[in-house]
Each structure stands twice: as C-alpha cells, then as structure tokens.
C-alpha cells in the first residue's frame, strides 16, 4: 500500500521481444522516512528554541541617604514588615516589633497576599483626609487612573521587605511581584536587623 510498485520489470515479455508493456507504476510513496524527518526537526526545534520571550520588571530603589533628616518617615499604623527566610518561609509584623516579639508571625507565600490585602484595606479604612492629598489625587487623575478619587487613601501604607541571608532571589522577586499584584505604591528593601534575624532563626523548623 505504502510502497513504490517496482514489480513488472520482468513480466513484459508476452508481446514478444522488443515490445515493452507500459508499466503501471503506483503513485503511492512510502511516507515513513518523511515522518521520521518531520519529528526529528520538531524535537530539534523544541530543544533549541525558547517559547516565551523574557520580560523585565522595573525596580526603583531609594537613594542612599546619608543625612538622617532626609530619610522617609513611616507612620507606624501603616507599616507592614515582611521578612524572608529559609525554605520559602515568610515572617511579618505590623508597625514596630515589640521587644518580646509577640507580634512576630510566620506565614507562607500563598497566604502573604491575603495579609497584604487585609493590611491595605485596614489602612484605607482608617484614612483621614488632609489637604495635601489633593496633589496625589490630581496626579492620579492626570495619569488616567479611573479610581483617582481613592488614590490618596493608601498613602500611609508602606511595606518594608527584609530578606535574610537564607532567602533566595526567587523569594525576593516573588515578594516584589506581590507588591505589583496588590498595587502597593510604597515599598522598600531594607537590611534585616540582628534581632529580627534571631527571631527568624528561633522560629525556623530545625
């Protein structure tokens, strides 16, 4: 069926010598080698090419302020500190850490989004209008934000990210991504303090 018909070469002697019978060649060609070739090329392309083009994520870091007066002040009620540790674990506390570490809690990457969202809602609910906020609102309106009326509500919400030496780059990018996902406008990557790192090591599963 899938073969070239090559028979008939010796069967054409009935009409006498010299008279050739017109050969009836089948037009069917064996396709198997072609399939082989096709799949070989497919595997070659799968291995040597990339599907997705890489994207870039912009990151803007604060300037290195030497003058303590120029440092950004953060309202305690709007601060959420997220600490990143070993084994993809996340720790967090609201406002300032208590000396006994009682407001220090641990969570995972799956649940951290909920914590950020809850804190954001809480900050937005406690918002007290001030005349300075008109600037923020106007800027948001010019930028084409349909929700510009609420633009100033989360101005007190600040997330401080503190990865420790065991956190991976993936954790850091994931948490920065969480900032984009939850539309957190103010966040900063800060060095971890020794006390905080001790708390992480104490909570870590051995």
């Amino acid at each position: 069926m899938a073969d070239i018909d090559v028979s008939g070469g010796d069967s054409g002697h009935k009409k006498g010598p010299g008279v050739k019978k017109a050969k009836k060649l089948s037009t069917r060609v064996d396709m198997t080698p072609m399939v082989d070739l096709g799949f070989l090329l497919i595997t070659f392309f799968i291995f040597t090419t990339t599907m997705s083009t890489p994207t870039t994520m912009g990151l803007i870091m604060p300037k290195d302020e030497k003058n303590p007066k120029d440092l950004t002040e953060v309202k305690e009620s709007g601060a959420l500190t997220i600490l990143l540790g070993k084994n993809d674990l996340v720790y967090y506390y609201m406002g300032q850490i208590k000396p006994d570490g009682s407001n220090f809690q641990s969570t995972t990457f799956k649940e951290v989004r909920k914590i950020i969202q809850d804190k954001k809602k809480e900050v937005m609910a406690n918002y007290t209008p001030s005349p300075l906020d008109e600037n923020i609102k106007n800027k948001a309106r010019e930028a084409g934000d349909p929700n510009w009326q609420n633009a100033a509500k989360d101005k007190d919400f600040v997330v401080v990210i503190k990865p420790n030496e065991d956190a991976t780059y993936k954790n850091t990018v994931d948490i920065l991504d969480e900032m984009t996902i939850n539309d957190v406008k103010r966040f900063a990557i800060v060095d971890i303090t020794e006390d905080e790192n001790k708390l992480i090591h104490a909570t870590e599963p051995k």
């Binding site: 990339t50 599907m51 994207t55 870091m61 290195d64 990865p163 991504d177 996902i181």
Partner: protein, 220 residues
C-alpha cells in the same frame, strides 16, 4: 474442498496524514519560538506578572547563577559603537593596574562576559575563545562590602557609555541567595544607580487582585 480464503491485509498504513500533522507542528514551532541565545551560564529566571518586553538596548547585564556567582556583561546593541567595549576594559586596566596586553583587551571586546575577580582577569582574557567558554569562572566578588569589585566594573562602564542611554539589567537564578543580590544592588547604589530592570519570565495576573482590577478597568 472449498477452502476459506482469508484476505491478506497489508500491515503498511498510509502515512500521509501523519506527515501532515508532523509538519504542521514543525511549522508552529518554527514560527512561535525563538532561538536560545548562547549563554555563558545557565540561569532559570523567576516569574513575574510584569509584561514589559525585554528590548534590544545598550545595557549592563549582571547575571547571578544558582550558586550566587556574579557575571558582568556589556551589551552594546542600540548605539552599535563597538569602541565602547574597548574603552570599558581600558578603564578597568587603568583603574586596577592590571597590565593587560592589547590582544587581551581585544579578547574582552569579543566576549564581554566576565565572572572572575580582578586578580584572575588577565589569565582569563589570555585564554582562547573556546577555553573561555569551558572554564568555570568563580564569579565577581560582591558580598564583601569593603571590596565589592562590581562597583568598579559598573563605574567604568558608566563612564565608557557617556552620551548613550544605558540600562541596567539583573538576571538572577531562582536559587541564588539574597546576599549576592544585595551585593549587586549595593554596587549599583554606590554608583548612584537606583533604577534597574530584573529579567523575569512572564506569568498571568491572579484574578481578583488589585492589579487585575486595574488592568480590567483599563481594558474597558
């Protein structure tokens, strides 16, 4: 005796539709994918929801592999001024008094990816192109705050790129530890560079989040 004739069925099947499918998939792969650029180090980048495409541009590419080794590459694409690469290595040679020969500097201009401390730079550049690809480079030291050699690299490259717009890109492996990343950020910060791009793989925006709502609102 009448004998029952069992029809002889051919085992050969018609392969034509199979060929059709194979070549259809093949053409899909040829059109939808892009060739992997040759990479000196294997890096699996993390995913992010960011959708900004990586553009062809003049950039300093700082790579970080899974062991936290840091590599530095000068990418000249947009301005296409190959002399910049030469002036980067000349600046490094001067700043660190490395005593590089002309052919060693030419070797840098050909392949600008470097992942060795300054002490090993001369022997790295003296290697042939094939050897350089094979050799395991220990990475540029960044975690030591007093001797962050990446600072010098970035400073030299910035002055070499004067007059051109320069982008800073960081490409890190998922498993790289934070201290190397911090070393890179510190090196950039010391050069007053506070805006850079992290190279990531795309990922969908989770439904119901604030960003999702913003994107939905913009679409309308």
């Amino acid at each position: 005796m009448p004998s029952v004739k069992i029809p002889k069925k051919s085992t050969a099947t018609d392969m034509t539709p199979f060929v059709d499918v194979a070549f259809l998939i093949l053409s899909f792969f040829m059109l939808a994918t892009k060739f992997k650029p040759p990479e000196p180090v294997e890096i699996t980048t993390p995913r992010s929801v960011s959708s900004d495409k990586l553009k062809e541009q003049d950039a300093l590419l700082i790579e970080m592999d899974k062991n936290g080794r840091v590599y530095f590459t000068v990418n000249v694409q947009k301005s296409a001024d190959e002399g910049i690469k030469k002036s980067v290595i000349e600046g490094i040679n001067k700043a660190r008094n490395l005593g590089l020969t002309q052919s060693e500097m030419n070797s840098f201009a050909k392949n600008t990816t470097v992942g060795v401390p300054f002490t090993g730079l001369k022997s790295l550049l003296a290697m042939s192109d094939e050897d350089r690809l094979k050799v395991k480079q220990p990475g540029i030291p960044v975690t030591d705050t007093l001797n962050n050699e990446l600072t010098t690299w970035v400073a030299t490259a910035v002055s070499a790129f004067q007059g051109h717009k320069l982008n800073y890109m960081i490409k890190g492996d998922n498993a790289a530890k934070y201290p190397s990343f911090k070393g890179i950020i510190d090196a950039l910060r010391k050069n007053d560079i506070n805006k850079y791009q992290l190279i990531t793989d795309p990922e969908g925006v989770p439904a119901g989040t604030d960003l999702y709502k913003i994107q939905e609102a913009k679409r309308k």
